[in-house]
Symmetry: C2
DNA sequence: ATTAATCGGACTAACATGGTCTCAATTATC
DNA sequence: GATAATTGAGACCATGTTAGTCCGATTAAT
């Protein structure tokens, strides 16, 4: 179906939130879920798998929560997605050479290969510092637009 | 899940088969299903939707079967896939501008946009004459390899 | 009439998705 | 030490999608 799962989408939003916090600040699930508009219970489950995969560290008890375990620059968008969805293969024949016995005579195989390669390179080329920075820029632009609109009203 | 559905895979194989036949030759389901290793009954259903979408024309009765309605060069890989799976959107926010109200402040949105654009351009850039030609080249190479191997044995 | 093919749709089993809910464990604070 | 806030683990569930099968109706060539 070529569509990002909801779970992965939420994982990305969650990690992005952490990446935008001051270094080392502990954020708890409710805070993230409200800011990023993700169902709290679901987000909690997602962060558990994110924890198991080693992207976040958790603290229990009051004032507990989550922080990133690595610098945001070392977590790519692909990492986040694959943590939730598992490895990406556009078609079965891309799981490994010879998985589909038709691949050596199949002209479609190669198309999938290049398509997937390009796709993955976009996702690996984007990490969470880039995203956090882009978010700040976009937010600034948005407030600019709002100010401008207000100006015109007067 | 970012994976091609079985149905679309079969549709592509079926269309490729038709594209490789001499112009205007009628092929029937069983023939295609054997050549392309697709479950016959399933392929039959797939060809019905392919018919409704206007890619193939059908003839009933004995000696009936299917032919392409347009030149193979005018059917892109994307056409084939979307005929079976419906339109492709990597993420909900790509359905249309504003579908996700976060898109104007979301840094991830733009990444999906470029990723999807690239992906679609690969699929639209590949049509069934290209594929048919590539198939012939690959087949030739394969028989070459076999001959070579036989040579070495002696 | 027989036969070979598509047409149309009902039906199914298995799996994936997108959650919720509950209870247990941990820990800061009073 | 009691309380409260937080994560941890996992059972549970409703719904939708996938990948088919199967059957009876229709069409047309012989
Ligand atoms: S695209 Fe070709 S190689 Fe890949 S699964 Fe389909 S038939 Fe096999
Ligand atoms: S990527 Fe951003 S804009 Fe797209 S659906 Fe997720 S939050 Fe919305």
């Amino acid at each position: 179906m070529f569509r990002l799962s909801r779970g992965a989408e939420y994982a990305i939003r969650g990690l992005l939130y952490l990446a935008m916090q001051p270094e080392g600040k502990i954020s708890f699930i409710e805070e993230i879920s409200i800011a990023q508009e993700v169902p709290k219970a679901y987000l909690a489950k997602i962060f558990q798998t994110l924890g198991k995969k080693g992207f976040v560290k958790s603290y229990r008890g009051p004032d507990g929560g989550f922080v990133l375990t690595k610098p945001a620059s070392e977590i790519s968008l692909l990492d986040a997605i694959e943590a939730l969805e598992g490895p990406i293969h556009f078609n079965d024949c891309l799981i490994h050479e010879g998985y589909c016995h038709r691949d050596e005579m199949c002209p479609i195989h190669d198309v999938w290969m290049t398509a997937q390669k390009q796709f993955l390179s976009v996702l690996t080329g984007t990490n969470f510092t880039i995203l956090a920075e882009a978010a700040r820029v976009k937010a600034a632009k948005k407030t600019d637009r709002l100010k401008e609109a207000k100006c015109k009203q007067n």
